[in-house]
């Protein structure tokens, strides 16, 4: 603090608290709605204090899902799908990026720069701009409605490769030299030296990629026609009918809370890695 200005400090706290309230308001209303019966929610205005249906709504959502209008299947299944997809994408991205950057940094071989540029260019081709051809490729490979189809096309990652490359460039050359003199081959060096040194980068990337995988929307929307393969984020959308009357809002809101809880917990509990990952992947 440069100078004492109690007025300004109070103002800063007031702005921050106001900000937090506005940011948290939608979540609070969602949570309240998920603890009431549908009739209570449809009353205008809906109650603003939590009700007593918490257990009923969440267990109904998890075990059966919505049944009026559209049946979407149990949310428990969707959560499992989301978890599998998020973990597969996070681990897959980290695994293929770390070995690719290891090769690019610690080896000299023809086409090395060409491969690096190929990976770089994928940054410029997000799923959103090549929706239909990518869907066709996956359909031709018979990967529709499968975990492989949901995850494999998303695990190529330029950002993760960059991050590992930057990090490997800072690994002292003496380590590689020492390993070579001691007779260690490149893979031995990778497992015993590079991988342990990369732990913090891996943790940071994991947090970012887990959230990325969990929150995927367009790709699962295209690739899952079978409701048992839907992820939680897709499931919510399918639970909402056009017109407010048919939608079982109490279950939709319970599903929304369930769908945002795992990534939100990852952010809050692994905050240190999250901030590191966010700042470093964007360099």
């Amino acid at each position: 603090m440069i100078e004492r200005r109690p007025g300004l400090t109070v103002f800063a706290h007031a702005v921050l608290i106001a900000g937090i309230l506005v940011v948290a308001f939608p979540l609070y209303v969602t949570f309240v709605a998920s603890t009431h019966t549908l009739d209570e929610i449809l009353k205008v205005p809906m109650p603003l204090l939590p009700g007593d249906q918490l257990w009923e709504n969440y267990s109904t959502a998890l075990s059966t899902g919505t049944t009026r209008g559209v049946t979407t299947g149990p949310v428990g299944r969707m959560m499992l799908n989301s978890l599998v997809v998020a973990l597969a994408i996070a681990f897959g991205k980290i695994a293929i990026s770390i070995i690719a950057s290891f090769a690019i940094v610690f080896f000299r071989f023809p086409l090395r720069n060409f491969f690096f540029w190929m990976i770089f260019v994928t940054l410029m081709l997000p799923v959103e701009v090549r929706i239909i051809p990518t869907f066709k490729v996956v359909a031709d490979l018979g990967m529709i409605n499968s975990y492989v189809g949901l995850t494999l096309p998303l695990i190529a990652s330029a950002t993760a490769t960059f991050l590992f490359r930057q990090f490997f460039l800072t690994v002292p050359e003496e380590l590689a030299e020492a390993a070579r003199i001691d007779g260690a081959g490149p893979m031995r060096f990778f497992w015993d030296v590079v991988l342990p040194l990369s732990k913090t980068s891996i943790a940071a990337l994991f947090v970012i990629q887990f959230i990325y995988g969990w929150n995927q929307y367009l790709w699962p929307l295209l690739i899952t026609t079978d409701e048992s393969m839907a992820t939680a984020v897709i499931g919510i959308k399918r639970q909402i009918n056009t017109g407010d009357a048919l939608t079982e809002w109490h279950l939709v809101m319970a599903t929304a809370v369930l769908a945002l809880l795992p990534p939100a917990l990852v952010v809050v509990l692994m905050q240190r890695w999250f901030v590191k990952g966010l700042v470093e992947t964007e360099k």
Partner: protein, 293 residues
């Protein structure tokens, strides 16, 4: 920066890059090439015959009033999302940088929306603003404002802007906070000794030093508004009413998947690719200059 000490092997490096390169070719390059190829073709309604039509799909797009309208909508939407998101998070970050007590608690409570999927963010705000049951709709009615985004295009736009901005504030906030904390305190102290008040210090010292961060965030936010907000739109307005919130990405999806217009949708994909490439180049040229390794 190159390593002097390297390993040698005739096959190992290729084996190590193979998984990444294979996925890149199969799921990125091949589809991108196909999108380019389809964009020069016209398919009949049953998908049986295709005809090479050159640039006709592109010409048709630029004659299509809906497509040009979609450009304008996307520009307005990204300007609002980026502008509002950056302004609000800069204010919050400047305040968070000032307080000492409870700084970590404030940060924790402000960053969690990053974890919320755009589609889920859309659903949360959709519920608040639902025309008949929404709690905010009720409050607005009490104030004499008739709220029904299902019928009114500008209100639908406001809804998707709020949902998209809400989700992005935490991201901007973290970058601004990091930027503010990296400003040397000696500069601020010197200005304070010279008699500059907090407001003056912010605009003449802090803000100029933050401008690289702000510019970086501007590019990131525009990219976010262009592409990642697909979930927000699809979960709330689905481009409606009457195309009032149909951003370019949503139109590619709608024309290609719902309307099965392969050629038109692919031509739009190619145009979008050009936009992404331009944005990425801007981002990287600027980062090259800023970051020194």
């Amino acid at each position: 920066m190159e390593k002097r000490v390297v390993f040698r092997s005739a096959w190992l490096p290729y084996a190590l890059v193979a998984p990444q390169i294979t996925i890149t070719i199969v799921f990125f390059f091949w589809p991108a090439v196909q999108a380019g190829w389809y964009s020069f073709q016209l398919q009949d309604a049953f998908g049986e015959r295709t005809q090479f039509v050159g640039l006709a799909n592109f010409a048709a797009l630029f004659r299509d009033a809906n497509y040009l309208e979609s450009f304008k909508i996307t520009a307005l939407f990204s300007a609002l999302v980026a502008g509002l998101g950056i302004a609000i998070s800069l204010l919050l970050a400047a305040m968070a940088d000032r307080v000492i007590r409870g700084a970590l608690a404030y940060r924790t409570l402000l960053i969690w929306p990053y974890a919320v999927a755009p589609a889920v963010a859309g659903v949360l705000w959709l519920f608040l603003f639902a025309p008949s049951i929404g709690i905010v709709t009720f409050a607005l009615r009490a104030l004499g404002i008739h709220w029904d985004w299902v019928l009114q295009g500008d209100q639908a736009m406001l809804l998707v802007v709020i949902a998209a901005t809400w989700k992005q504030i935490s991201y901007n906030f973290l970058f601004f906070l990091a930027g503010l904390q990296s400003i040397p305190k000696s500069l601020i102290e010197a200005a304070a000794i010279d008699g500059a008040g907090p407001g003056r210090r912010f605009w003449t010292i802090v803000f100029p030093l933050l401008s690289p961060t702000a510019f970086f965030l501007l590019v990131v936010n525009v990219v976010y508004a262009f592409f990642e907000t697909f979930g927000v739109i699809d979960a709330t307005t689905q481009g409606g009413p009457a195309g009032a919130t149909q951003i370019l990405v949503y139109k590619v999806y709608y024309d290609g998947v719902k309307a099965a217009d392969l050629g038109g949708s692919s031509a739009q994909s190619v145009i979008l690719m050009a936009i992404v490439i331009a944005l990425t180049v801007v981002q990287f040229r600027y980062i090259e200059r800023k970051v020194q390794y």
